[in-house]
């Protein structure tokens, strides 16, 4: 853990809706190093996006940050202080979303949008000239795209324009929330490769949020796997993929169809939020074939085992 750029410590979030309080993010921690491509994986509704948004001060209304702190570039702030987080992180962090066309303004040409992002970053002396540079960085020909509106370009191109806007502030950290879900496989691969290159060349850190493990497998070095607001396993990607320990990680891997060697798929049973509410427990217990009464009583802390951290009682003591 040499050069930690961004870290979340014990982040806990409740949702309060119609007077009902639910814990949707439960004590999660992760740390991202400078220049690292970090994967955050889990099914929809597992709290990946919510925790990342809250960690940069963008918790949606109806959410209440209960505990935790976020450190960025050596400065730590309590996560409850959302306004403070926004102030502290807005210059250094950019976001990239799933639906690129939705992120762009349909009434403005794409070059004007990139230019505006540059102006607002307030660090460029000549935004006009810089627009061309940014288009080149994201692999688009400025001349072809000048004067084009978002509806005139493809999804992959729109995602690249959104990238250009995100890069305008020269961020140290980029949070990419399922950036390739709406794209074709060929474009998806190009975008992932491009993100990996950004990490390398610009020393930029990226948190790649995905629901499909096979997406992060090629370019991420480390990852965290989330289920129902809890981190279940985290550490080196190769180690985890070679020998997944948590039953949920195993389930996720078994659910991905393999192109090269087709095998029977083993779907995970139940859904993310299916179990009993309001009690302290491992939230995977209602879907887990190894669940014991202990799992219904508490969520185990991180256990260091075989080069990664896993939250599961199976690995707590020597089996009887």
């Amino acid at each position: 853990m040499a050069d930690v750029l961004f870290s979340i410590e014990g982040l806990t979030i409740d949702s309060v809706r119609g007077g009902v309080r639910r814990r949707i993010v439960d004590d999660i921690s992760l740390s991202v190093e400078r220049g690292e491509l970090y994967g955050l994986v889990g099914e929809s509704g597992s709290g990946k996006s919510i925790s990342m948004m809250a960690s940069v001060g963008l918790a949606a209304s109806g959410l209440e940050v209960m505990a935790g702190s976020v450190a960025f570039s050596g400065r730590a702030l309590p996560a409850r202080n959302q306004r403070g987080l926004r102030g502290n992180l807005s210059r250094g962090v950019s976001l990239l979303f799933q639906n690129a066309k939705g992120a762009l303004n349909p009434f403005k040409t794409v070059d004007r949008q990139v230019e505006r992002a540059l102006r607002r970053s307030g660090r460029q002396t000549d935004p006009r000239a810089e627009v061309e540079v940014l288009f080149r960085v994201v692999g688009l020909n400025y001349r072809d795209f000048r004067g084009k509106y978002p509806h005139q370009i493809s999804g992959g191109q729109a995602q690249r324009v959104a990238m250009a806007c995100a890069l305008a502030t020269e961020p140290a950290l980029l949070i990419a929330d399922e950036p390739t879900t709406a794209l074709d496989v060929t474009t998806e691969r190009e975008l992932l490769r491009f993100l990996a290159r950004l990490c390398e060349e610009r020393e930029m850190a990226i948190v790649l949020i995905a629901h499909n493990l096979s997406l992060v497998s090629e370019y991420c070095r480390r990852l965290s796997i989330m289920h129902a607001g809890q981190v279940v396993e985290s550490g080196n990607l190769k180690t985890i993929f070679a020998d997944p320990l948590h039953p949920y990680t195993r389930g996720l891997i078994a659910a991905v169809p393999d192109v090269d060697q087709p095998r029977e798929l083993v779907p995970l049973i139940g859904n993310v939020w299916g179990g009993p509410e309001g009690i302290e427990r491992c939230r995977f217990s209602h879907r887990c074939q190894f669940a014991t009464p202990v799992c219904e009583a508490r969520h185990p802390p991180a256990i260091e085992r075989a080069g990664r951290a896993v939250h599961c009682v199976l690995y707590e003591e020597v089996p009887a």
């Binding site: 099914e43 929809s44 493809s154 999804g155 992959g156 191109q157 074709d184 496989v185 060929t186 474009t187 998806e188 691969r189 629901h211 499909n212 493990l213 096979s214 997406l215 497998s217 090629e218 993929f241 389930g251 996720l252 891997i253 078994a254 659910a255 991905v256 169809p257 393999d258 192109v259 090269d260 060697q261 087709p262 095998r263 798929l265 083993v266 779907p267 995970l268 859904n271």
Partner: protein, 336 residues
């Protein structure tokens, strides 16, 4: 012994004109022919914009083809009067990518599926509930779900309802247009398993449209790879997706994300699918093909390879005229 195919498509063409550039190649389907046999699961893969959805919509009669024939159970769709067409729709059903857009938010699952049953009189009145419970079991839904409304169901459950509705019509063929691409991987696995079991039990033919090669490899026995409205490669799944011959299929396969990434350089395509790059009469893949050369300016013939494997590429044509092409045929053993 050889029964006629459930679906037989001949030289199907459906183009969408661009008035500003009438000379350009149009999006859509251009002269596609194929058969789907009874009980077969055929995959149709390609990138967005390649015409795969258009093809599916033509097959179910949602779009009128410009040219060509669609024959279902020996009946040509074009020969049907509008009134007969309506009752004939029973034979082919479709499941869309986003189930929420096809379910009626104001109808419970029971009412919604009952409508489909009434429409085609597949179940005698009064017996709907019993049949529906059977169907629900078949698609993996609980009986309680029948009285729920779409907003009370999860994405996977909604897709199951859409499949159930299609099955309620007792069709010979179901067109599945990207049925799992809006779902999570875990839910996708559940739905794919259900579809596979269904297929075994009911024996309905599927035309499975998808851009995910891994999904297609899992569920389909035969695949067709489509690019800009034409089929560039087709054949048994294990050959086309195991040992692809066409550079486009190779690139598509190499781009697929994997849990264990393949080492080494991958064949890749240049840029994106862009219509403007393709001139009339040339191989559609030329503009992006890593192996393209001068000759690709004329469209290549379709080369027949062993085991019903067909490829539209000059490379395959050359290899075939030099003698039998050496393609490794995979062993019949299923890998563990």
């Amino acid at each position: 012994m050889t029964a006629s195919p459930v679906l037989s498509v001949r030289k199907l063409t459906k183009l969408f004109g661009d008035r500003t550039r009438p000379e350009a190649v149009n999006v859509g389907v251009r002269g596609v022919s194929f058969d789907v046999e009874g009980g077969e699961v055929v995959g149709l893969i390609g990138e967005s914009g390649c015409g795969k959805t258009t093809l599916g919509r033509c097959v179910v009669g949602l779009q009128k083809p410009d040219d060509g024939h669609i024959v279902i159970n020996d009946t040509d769709l074009a020969s049907l009067s509008p009134a007969r067409m309506r009752t004939f729709r029973k034979a082919v059903q479709i499941v869309f990518q986003r189930p929420e857009t096809c379910l009626n938010p104001r109808m419970s699952v029971f009412t919604f599926v009952k409508q489909a049953m009434r429409n085609f009189d597949t179940v005698p009145r009064g017996h709907e509930r019993a049949r529906m419970i059977e169907l629900a079991q078949l698609v993996g839904l609980k009986e309680e779900a029948l009285d729920r409304f779409p907003h009370q169901l999860s994405g996977g459950e909604r897709q199951r309802v859409a499949i159930m509705r299609a099955l309620a019509c007792e069709p010979s063929l179901i067109v599945l247009d990207e049925p799992t691409s809006a779902l999570d991987v875990s839910v996708q696995a559940q739905v794919l398993r259900t579809l596979k079991d269904l297929q075994r039990e009911v024996g309905t033919s599927f035309l499975f449209i998808s851009h995910d090669v891994a999904v297609v490899r899992y569920i389909c026995s035969r695949v067709m790879v489509m690019y800009l409205g034409v089929i560039v490669e087709e054949g048994p799944s294990e050959i086309v997706l195991g040992h692809p011959v066409h550079p486009y299929t190779q690139a598509l396969l190499a781009a697929a994300p994997r849990i264990t990434p393949k080492p080494g350089p991958h064949p890749s395509l240049k840029g994106e699918l862009v219509l403007a790059d393709v001139g009339p009469g040339e191989c559609p893949v030329r503009a992006r093909c890593p192996m393209a050369h001068e000759r690709c300016r004329t469209a290549p013939p379709v080369t027949q390879l062993p085991e019903g494997h067909r490829v539209a590429c000059w490379l395959a044509a050359d290899a075939a005229t030099d003698g039998p092409i050496s393609i490794q045929t995979p062993s019949k053993k299923v890998p563990q």
